[in-house]
Symmetry: C2
Subunit: 237 residues, 2 copies
Amino acid sequence: MIYRLYYWPDLQGRGEFIRLALEYAGARYVDVLRMPGGDFRREANPPPFAPPYLVAGKRVIAQTANILLFLGPRLRLAPRDEAGRLWAHQLQLTVADWLTEVHDTHHPIGSGLYYEDQKPEARRRAADYLAHRLPKFLDYFDGVLGGSGGAFLLGRRLAYPDLSLFQMVTGHRYAFPRAMARIERRYPRVVALHDRVVSDPRLLPYLKSRRRIPFNRQGIFRAYPELDDRRNNPKKT
Amino acid sequence: MIYRLYYWPDLQGRGEFIRLALEYAGARYVDVLRMPGGDFRREANPPPFAPPYLVAGKRVIAQTANILLFLGPRLRLAPRDEAGRLWAHQLQLTVADWLTEVHDTHHPIGSGLYYEDQKPEARRRAADYLAHRLPKFLDYFDGVLGGSGGAFLLGRRLAYPDLSLFQMVTGHRYAFPRAMARIERRYPRVVALHDRVVSDPRLLPYLKSRRRIPFNRQGIFRAYPELDDRRNNPKKT
């Protein structure tokens, strides 16, 4: 099976969570829009609401977490039993909720408006996010790691939500470097998971390759210094 | 199997999507926090990030769409084959994204802040939502209904995403009555689905019962007239 991924070619975005799973598993896939002449399909059945979507044979599957639900067992990145698969998926859905909140730090008013047209609101939302929401998500995943019985979210074997949690950490370090420097030490198991994944020989070649699109200001994680902790005015930890 | 649902007792919220499926199917369940002395579990394994969560025997399942993924085949509210189940789930995840956008019309800055502390931002976000996002979601689901080969999203049999789409329509009519009066006629298949579900004899007793919590200003759908279309100043259709 050669999978075909349809997603924006110039940013990591939601598609990156799929790419990480495909790359880690060594799956054969085409990142369609990054190929010469590649474009979204005019018709896809059943119809996706938005990218990313994956074509696997005659199947068309959309929604990032749904794609990973489909790929997980096929790529050996999820447990085989139903309880394990649903738990992996539940974690992925929590990552999805978290990612939406990250997006809304720079687009709190409308995803169709420019950032420049919602900067005051973005500052308020980002401050609230960094003060309340980011610690809540990090604390949750640190707790899951603490209770899993292994170094990974589901225990002793890496599963696709581990790759997604790695992406969340590296994305936050790019977008909110001061805030992350301030708080990430409070979540040592999350940081250790990041470190384990980033140096995994199954992923390292991809991360060092040109296939890994650099973070930039078209993506979900954006480095706007004015949305990060204020310089020289760190909040008390 | 007697299912145990854990969710806030005084609002519809995300839990309502689970309640609708359980009620439609005539499943045996306890809405735990609505019982005398009922409360959230101190420990749940694996741990949910947030309510709702469902306890089924020894299983604890969280994330609304994940709970419906689990319940769908068991309540005969989803296809049996993998492709059909993933398609139903994909639609549910799109409803989940949509619902988050509805929530953020009144809480664009922070879910932990009062609405009164983010009213100007809420007005901007709600206006953008009604102008751009609501039509996009309604158009999508109308298109899915048009291509399904039946009166329901998946074809000729009602599945759980149909109940969720009904909830979205009735919620919008409560929260944004002027905007809905202006635009819903453009999506006749969505309206027809709503009408079919609301009068379904399998659901009607629940909808008329005291088990159906009325919409209110603690829920996701909130009737703040200042966030709806302006009175006497309807936008051109």
